[in-house]
Symmetry: C2
DNA sequence: GTATTTGCAAAGACTTTGCATTTGA
DNA sequence: TCAAATGCAAAGTCTTTGCAAATAC
């Protein structure tokens, strides 16, 4: 499904580096969340992660998940997108940036990357004298399968 | 600042039409919110609108504002964007679709329209067999003024 | 008159925070 | 050892909902 460019151990190494850099301490929970996102490869809500965590160890807490996801996002290990009003979903930060097509029928998320789009954005921002920090592009659409199902 | 393509009365007419079409009844509050967004021309939060409403009549309620904004958005009179995690902001739906550059420093919102961008999105969606319903593109950047201020 | 809208208060959903306890360097 | 991370519960936001009173057609 999704290419895994970097293996989990390598990510853990980067994580430990990042933790040390910030003068923090490692924890099972941080590694667990990173692992879950890595292995799932998709987009999980904090609640989804909690459920998976509860299977693995008792006492997993939603607040820690929020805190950890906040840290992981700040450090660039994960990205979040807002699929709908039910809250954010997180995915592991793979090597390549990408944007999302979200099916308004089935909720499926299709990832895409367009060099043209990135360049165009750069051009637009420059035209307004602004310096891009990041962007967020969501295309809401009816996916191939749902379109087919509707045309029966 | 912002061009007003359609005058307020014309918008009211469309509103009444829309209300009748849905078998509903007109109300001062609906017209008020539309007017506020029209005259402000910018991006207002429900709370912003509430404050303005409180100046105009006692007993303005936040729940009505949410309800009305929901209706107005469904009917295409207003659009919403999520600037940050503090919630949605609403603007009057002008004639032309546009996207937003959001300054991460001062919060300023710059509107832009790019035909190329629209076409590119269409192409990307088509490439995935998806039919675009809408899109939402936000570029987070440091605006010209903030960049200048920082380079002192 | 009667169905829709409103205002108010209460409830919901998602997220954050305070604090005692546990854990890692 | 001792600061950082966790779990739990409580509190915070933004938003929605239930319901009686007001309003429009």
């Amino acid at each position: 499904m999704k290419q895994k460019k970097e293996n989990l151990d390598a990510i853990y190494d980067r994580l430990r580096l990042s933790i040390r850099k910030n003068g923090l301490k490692n924890s099972k929970q941080r590694e667990f969340i990173l692992k879950v996102l890595y292995e799932n490869g998709g987009h999980l809500s904090p609640e989804d992660i909690l459920m998976l965590a509860k299977d693995s160890y008792r006492g997993a807490s939603i607040s820690s998940i929020y805190r950890i996801l906040g840290f992981l996002e700040k450090e660039g290990f994960v990205h979040s997108i807002e699929i709908d009003k039910s809250g954010k979903k997180y995915e592991i930060a793979g090597g390549t940036h990408h944007d999302h097509i979200i099916c308004v029928d089935c909720g499926k998320i299709i990832e895409f990357y367009s060099k043209e789009m990135e360049e165009l954005q750069e051009k637009i921002a420059k035209g307004h004298g602004a310096k891009i920090i990041s962007h967020d592009m969501r295309i809401f659409a009816v996916c191939k399968e749902c379109a087919k199902a509707q045309n029966l």
